[in-house]
């Protein structure tokens, strides 16, 4: 059963009618529904295309959080061979909100790291809805260091509402863990490509996204604070999340304009969840291209590239 978002009611109606028609026809094979079905399908497709061509920042946030949007595990399943997850931060525990490991991508060994939100109630709980604790960030930093030692490129898939705001997380140094992970990203002597596949929530996202290339899926969002959080602080009303989403400029299109990201990966019409296989394949192609661009770069050149890239952000407008 498809999950429709609140702005998709017209699409839901049309697709519901199509489904109904098909069921009726299935019961009565003599019935000719071809013409009617064709009309409805054209209309539904147009409606979907038009709706997704002009999503508001808040609607994009909803798409980025869509429950069946492909997650880390889906990407790794389709793109990475011999994926070998590695667990633990070697200090305290294992945090499944971030998955990290080794694998083969387009024939070469890489390290893959990313947030996993989970796909059903049980796995969502297991992965803490993709909200990592310090152990997750320390594991990420540990695997990045491992990749650096063995000259393996690192691919990071970012999909988190934010780092987990809990008592234990604070006691074990959530802030420090995020800071160290960001620092590790910037120190790597191997290529680092980060892709925002859903939500890029604040410091919890940056910790995996201080990369040579930062790519974003067309309907993903990346922001300093969630629209709800921003609204509750600045408007003192979390109901104003729509306004906050618009004001903060959180869409891939805005961020490309601000030169914060390098590339937008187009999504299938209706969002990545409508055709996950294609969305993931296109993402794989973009990652492959980004890695190829950095082929043969020395560690020093890669560090320098990252440094210059981040120092340049915002400076274009220096007065």
């Amino acid at each position: 059963m498809h999950v429709f978002l609140d702005f998709e009611t017209q699409i839901a109606d049309l697709e519901g009618k199509i489904e109904e028609l098909r069921q009726v026809a299935a019961q009565d094979p003599a019935m000719n529904i071809g013409e009617e079905l064709g009309k409805l399908e054209t209309k539904a497709a147009a409606q979907l295309r038009d709706t997704y061509a002009k999503l508001t920042p808040w609607q994009k946030t909803q798409v980025a959080r869509h429950p069946v949007r492909p997650h880390f595990t889906d990407y790794v399943g389709q793109l990475v061979e011999d994926f070998t997850p590695l667990a633990g931060d070697r200090s305290f525990g294992e945090d499944k909100a971030i998955i990290a490991g080794l694998g083969r991508f387009e024939g070469r060994s890489i390290a893959v790291i990313g947030h996993e939100k989970g796909a059903d109630t049980q796995s969502r709980l297991e992965h803490n809805f993709g909200m990592a604790r310090p152990e997750g960030y320390r594991k990420a930093a540990r695997i990045m260091a491992l990749a650096d030692r063995f000259c393996l490129p690192v691919v990071a898939l970012v999909d988190t509402t934010g780092a987990y705001p809990g008592r234990g997380a604070e006691e074990r140094g959530q802030a420090e863990a995020i800071a160290r992970s960001t620092e590790m990203c910037l120190s790597l002597g191997v290529p680092l490509v980060s892709v925002i596949i859903g939500e890029g929530g604040s410091g919890g996202a940056v910790a995996l996204a201080a990369a040579n290339r930062v790519l974003m899926l067309e309907h993903s969002v990346y922001s300093v604070i969630s629209p709800e959080g921003c609204a509750s602080i600045l408007w003192r009303d979390s109901e104003r999340a729509k306004d906050a989403a618009a004001a903060m400029k959180i869409t891939a299109q805005d961020l490309l304009g601000l030169k914060v990201i390098d590339q937008i990966i187009p999504e299938p019409v209706g969002g990545a969840h409508r055709d996950p296989a294609r969305a993931i394949a296109d993402t794989g192609a973009a990652i492959h291209q980004a890695l190829q661009e950095m082929e043969g770069w020395t560690g020093q050149a890669l560090r320098q590239d990252r440094r210059v890239k981040f120092l340049e952000i915002g400076r274009a407008g220096l007065v």
Binding site: R167, A210, K249, I313, L318
Partner: protein, 335 residues
């Protein structure tokens, strides 16, 4: 209604309110409520004499308290594009900035200065919580990068006093990008082998804690400062339980291994002097990684290592010039 309410009462009120506020001669301690004479409070560096509560102070008070003889020179910080997103919530961001500027006479949240500490040249930056909650935006980010660069130019330790709610939401993603950008500032200090000392003051939270504020060579906090990633209210809402007494306060962090020390404001100058002198006086022969002087001949390079390579790979000078080159190239590409 009558003469008493319409005339006498306002007069009486005005008389008292006037008498209560002349130049804030007396200040109420926000913690214990005791009245402290303003001049005593200044002498005590805004630490309550009865309960030792550390009140929030700004850059001027910090500079005066730490630098030799209270003498220092602030230096210019880069201008940044104002209000890059044309942000407006219930108020315009541009207006909030204006207000903070007139309230603090500062351009933005960070003020930086050079001076000496027991004779040793140091660079110091202070985040002022009074300027939009000390928040980290483009200006503060550039200020920290510039301060690190000045420290490297002067071969001086960099001492940073943090105080901030976090990243400045009104600059959206550009404020979030200050996390990696300021981390680069810390990295260039590390590479130059210059001490980067962080003094966390009340409050330091959010993206500030999750970047440069937790990356110091030595981490110091003032007593009772709120330090954390998420705010206590957000945590209580998330876990639906009451947080323990002293949660996210300096002493709590010290106990959990997140700080080197908690230092009373009156002892900060002495402690900072000790740490910076000890780190800078390190004898090159005693360490695996000797401090690198600008003159590459100043310390021995292990045999078997190609000196030219070593320089090309690690010299800050060459790195900076490379960066400038690349920047110039980038600037050329995007007119």
């Amino acid at each position: 209604m009558n003469w008493l309410t319409n005339f006498a009462r306002p007069k009486v009120k005005a008389f008292f309110s006037k008498r209560n506020t002349p130049d804030n001669l007396w200040v109420n301690c926000t913690n214990c409520g005791s009245m402290v004479f303003h001049r005593d409070l200044i002498a005590q560096q805004f630490v309550c004499p009865s309960c030792q509560f550390h009140m929030r102070i700004g850059p001027t008070e910090r500079f005066k308290a730490i630098f030799d003889g209270g003498l220092y020179e602030t230096f210019d910080l880069p201008d940044v594009l104002p209000d890059p997103l044309k942000f407006k919530d219930e108020k315009k961001y541009a207006d909030r900035i204006k207000e903070s500027r007139s309230k603090t006479s500062q351009t933005d949240a960070v003020v930086s200065a050079t001076g000496t500490l027991d004779g040793l040249g140091i660079v110091m930056a202070v985040q002022n919580f009074k300027f939009m909650g000390g928040s980290l935006g483009m200006a503060a980010g550039e200020a920290l990068i510039r301060s690190a660069e000045v420290a490297i130019q002067k071969r001086a330790p960099f001492i940073l006093f943090t105080a901030a709610g976090g990243a400045r939401m009104q600059e959206g993603i550009l404020s979030l990008m200050q996390m990696p950008r300021t981390t680069i500032a810390v990295q260039i200090l590390h590479e130059a082998k210059l001490p980067y000392i962080v003094v966390l003051t009340d409050p330091t939270t959010g993206g500030v804690t999750a970047s440069y504020a937790m990356l110091g060579d030595v981490q110091i906090a003032e007593p009772g400062a709120l330090i954390g990633f998420a705010g206590p209210r957000v945590i209580e809402q998330t876990i639906r339980e009451k947080l323990p007494e002293g949660f996210q306060r300096s002493e709590y962090l010290l106990e959990h291994g997140m700080l080197d020390m908690v230092v009373h404001r009156h002892d900060l100058r002495k402690t900072l002097s000790h740490i910076t002198h000890l780190l800078m006086d390190r004898s090159p022969g005693k360490s695996d990684t000797p401090p690198r002087a600008l003159d590459p001949g100043a310390h021995k390079i292990p045999s078997g290592v190609d000196r030219n390579n070593l320089q090309a790979d690690h010299s800050i000078d060459s790195e900076i010039s490379k960066e400038e080159e690349q920047r110039a190239r980038l600037a050329g590409q995007t007119p």
